[in-house]
């Protein structure tokens, strides 16, 4: 049943997002095309299109960021819609456990966010290659430089040196993303306990819990890290590279990963329990 839940939830989201993605990609291609024309014009010292390109660049950058924020918000809103509004009468009477429903929607939310990240970053990358805009050109330059230093480190210290932290970094980013989604769903499930203004209460819970979490987690990571490393001494990147060990970095990432994993699990379990016992459909 979990597979079926994922299938339908994904279909539902994708129908909505395919148009958005196509628009963003089309806009990027348009901007690239325009940049191509601008390049030809600039060769002849005609600067007419520069302002337009500047504006377009701004739009594309904003769109790329907005796409990711929007995806997250839509994912959370769809959870609310399918579980708590009238649609909930259909969803909650299906012969599936709340666990399957929540986990399935966790996974789909996560996948949609990843796809959005890929689409937005892909468009930015593509545009940075084509663009005549100085912002995009320097963006592309810094990407190239990062890649170069990356290769240099591999040459000097071997691939495994950089591989582990890289994997940890990606894993941590993933678990934080997944955690954000479980956190959003938890806020929805808390908000629906109230009889009126469920969405408003969702947001109130979101802000409240977020505040508590930010404070507590920075505290925790810092404290736990000091158990294993001396922040001032060990977290100097140059020192680490010299000692041929990114271990302090890795340890910080591992602690962060584990904490976020536990948090995501706690959020999910709490969401499941609340929807099981305290479902309050209007």
């Amino acid at each position: 049943m979990l597979g079926k839940i994922i299938k339908y939830d994904f279909k539902n989201h994708f129908k909505m997002f395919i148009t958005i993605y196509l628009c963003v990609i089309a806009a990027t291609l348009f901007a690239c095309g325009l940049s191509g024309i601008n390049r030809l014009l600039l060769d002849k010292d005609i600067q007419v299109l520069n302002i337009t390109i500047g504006l377009l660049t701004g739009i594309i950058i904003v769109a790329a960021i907005a796409l990711n924020v929007l995806t997250f918000l839509i994912v959370i809103y769809n959870f609310y819609k399918s579980m708590v509004t009238n649609e909930g009468y259909l969803t909650n009477t299906l012969p599936v456990t709340k666990t399957e429903l929540v986990i399935g929607k966790n996974i789909v939310g996560f996948i949609m966010c990843i796809i959005s990240i890929l689409v937005s970053f892909g468009c930015l990358l593509l545009y940075s290659v084509c663009s005549t805009s100085p912002i995009m050109k320097s963006f592309f330059e810094s990407l190239k430089n990062a890649f170069k230093s990356f290769n240099m480190i591999i040459d000097e210290n071997g691939f495994s040196f950089i591989a582990f932290p890289l994997i940890l970094f990606i894993a941590t980013a993933f678990i934080q993303l997944y955690g954000n989604i479980t956190y959003g769903y938890l806020c929805v499930s808390l908000g629906q306990i109230m009889n009126k203004n469920k969405l408003l209460w969702t947001i109130i819970f979101a802000v409240g819990i977020n505040f508590i979490l930010q404070t507590v987690s920075s505290f925790l990571v810092a404290i736990l890290s000091t158990l294993f490393i001396n922040i001032n001494r060990d977290l100097d990147l140059a020192v680490m590279v010299q000692n041929n060990s990114l271990m302090p970095f890795n340890i910080m990432f591992i602690i962060s990963f584990v904490l976020d994993l536990i948090l995501a699990m706690v959020f999910s379990i709490a969401t499941i329990k609340i929807l099981d016992k305290k479902l309050n459909l209007e």
């Binding site: 049943m1 079926k4 339908y8 539902n12 129908k15 909505m16 819609k81 399918s82 009238n86 649609e87 909930g88 009468y89 259909l90 909650n92 009477t93 299906l94 012969p95 599936v96 456990t97 016992k277 305290k278 479902l279 309050n280 459909l281």
Partner: protein, 232 residues
């Protein structure tokens, strides 16, 4: 114990407000039961409890001897009095959704009902009128070969001709192993198809009897009896 549905001492309170007060009754298979009562009598809460959309404060619900859960959801087909669609689906996609999640869904029956009520299978649900949407929802629920159907206002927003067709479908669907609970205000329209009726007042059962026995006893229709019992 061959009861299909069994409620024992069901009480539901929201703080100081008691919506259901020690409600107990059993329904055997093969019965069509009317759940009747004015607004605020606790009907909707009772229906939600049977469908695990609400947890009782105390008391026990057993469906075929099981507590409400996945096993009971497999054999209970519920029609809420709200429209519960995701507007993006077409009628066909909704049907496929039902087929996917419910093993007892009868696709042929569904297609026949849809065509008899002239509903285009490929139509986007969003584009249908409210009455048609309600028909679609009812058709999906009735196309399942469930053991307990819980219909909350099945004919409320539907035109009289379709109403007749729907009531005919319910009679035609009759299965001596399955039971139907119909909660409605339109008593005079459905009272000829009922076996029994339950009157719910302020969260308590005030009448639970066979409709024929009530007619013989009181010399009045169930509709008239309702008006008398719930006189304002």
């Amino acid at each position: 114990m061959n009861e299909l549905l069994s409620l024992n001492g069901i009480t539901k309170a929201y703080g100081a407000n008691t919506v259901l007060d020690n409600v107990s009754f059993q329904i055997k298979p093969g019965r069509i039961v009317g759940l009747l009562g004015p607004n605020g009598s606790g009907k909707t809460t009772l229906i939600k409890i049977i469908n695990s959309l609400c947890t009782p404060t105390s008391g026990e619900v057993l469906i075929q001897g099981n507590r409400p859960g996945i096993e009971s959801k497999k054999i209970v087909s519920y029609l809420p009095d709200k429209l519960y669609f995701n507007d993006y689906m077409t009628v066909k996609e909704l049907m496929e959704y039902y087929m996917d999640f419910y093993n007892d869904f009868n696709q042929d029956k569904c297609l026949t009902l849809l065509s008899n009520l002239q509903i285009d299978v490929n139509a986007k649900i969003k584009t249908l009128s409210k009455g048609t949407k309600e028909k679609v929802q009812l058709i999906m629920v009735m196309s399942r070969e469930a053991l307990l159907y819980v219909l909350d206002e099945p004919i409320g927003g539907v035109d009289p001709a379709s109403r007749d067709y729907i009531l005919n479908t319910i009679i035609n669907n009759y299965n001596p192993e399955a039971s139907i609970i119909i909660s409605t205000h339109l008593i005079s329209d459905i009272e000829t198809i009922l076996d029994d009726c339950i009157f719910l007042q302020n969260g308590r059962i005030v009448v639970y009897n066979s409709v024929e026995a009530l007619r013989m006893d009181k010399n009045m229709s169930i509709d008239e009896l309702f008006r008398e019992v719930f006189r304002c």
